[in-house]
Amino acid sequence: MSDTAATLAHQHQFDDAAQQYSASTLGMWIFLVTEVMFFGGLFTAYVAYRTLYPDTFGHASNYLDLRLGTINTAVLIASSLTMALAIHAAQVGKRTAMITLLLATILLGTTFLGIKAVEYAHKFEAGLVPGAGFTYAGPDAPQAQLFFSLYFGMTGLHAAHMIIGIGILAVLVAQGRRGRFGPEYYTPVELSGLYWHFVDIIWIFLFPLLYLIDRH
């Protein structure tokens, strides 16, 4: 329990635990801003090329699996719910509930990645992966290749964030089992939650841009 006692005391540069908590939260939000700019570059590239080749991008987006994309959106929203509930459990001191909810979040995140892997496998089989083996039946294959490059770049970067997120949650589970978090100190759970929800927000924009527009 010395671990818990050590974390309860705030570091010497802060006035109190509350100030330390606000500083940590602010730092995490600033990190998320850099992430917004990171993904923002890709979103800008997508919007710019989509404006240049609207018909080809519209045609190419119909090759994506809307059913799996919709299921994955629901899975990710559910994982955000379990994450928010895990933080709540930490806030009110329900340690077992917190660990169960974190494990549920990990499970839902892994489900998302599994479905994504199935989608990727279909694209490989259909020859829709940019490169030498790109066999696109529709018109304007080079522009369509651009669409699929952006599709793999954006969803791939998103998936990489999910994998990192699952790793962070696994560490939280291990720390939580040792009784590190409670109503007095749950900052790492809160900050990991901010990251997880941010990754959800990225998908909330990727889904309509890649799957939905020009679906009709």
Binding site: A17, A18, Y21, S22, T25, L26, W29, I30, L32, V33, V36, M37, G40, G41, F43, T44, V47, A48, T51, L52, L66, T70, T73, A74, I77, A78, S80, L81, M83, A84, L85, H88, Q91, V92, P183, E184, Y185, Y186, E190, G193, L194, H197, F198, D200, I201, I204, F205, F207, P208, L209, L212, I213, D214, R215, H216
Partner: protein
């Protein structure tokens, strides 16, 4: 601790709303509404993102400094996309 404790009921309500909005945006996408398909899909996405940020990310109960960081991020993102598109969308004007 400084963090605000929201009720679990509000989290379930936000979750249900997000699912309804997802069903709505998928349904709307099956109709041909011209350029409004993109407008509606992105408007719904912004609503969903706002709900996640305000409630799941506790932005609603955050201090003003956090709000400032979020507004700055949106401003810079707007500049990035806005200035790029001001170039992209007006290039054809010269050849006319």
């Amino acid at each position: 601790m400084a963090g605000h404790i929201a009720s679990t009921r509000s989290y379930y309500a936000i979750f249900a709303t997000l699912l309804v909005l997802t069903a709505l945006t998928v349904t709307v996408a099956t109709f041909d509404l011209g350029r409004f398909n993109a407008v509606i899909a992105l408007s719904i996405a912004m609503c969903k993102a706002t709900l996640v940020a305000l409630f799941f990310m506790h932005l609603r109960y955050s201090v003003r400094l956090t709000w400032l960081v979020v507004v700055a991020a949106l401003l810079w993102l707007f500049l990035l996309i806005g200035l790029t598109m001001s170039d992209q969308l007006t290039r054809g004007w010269l050849s006319r």
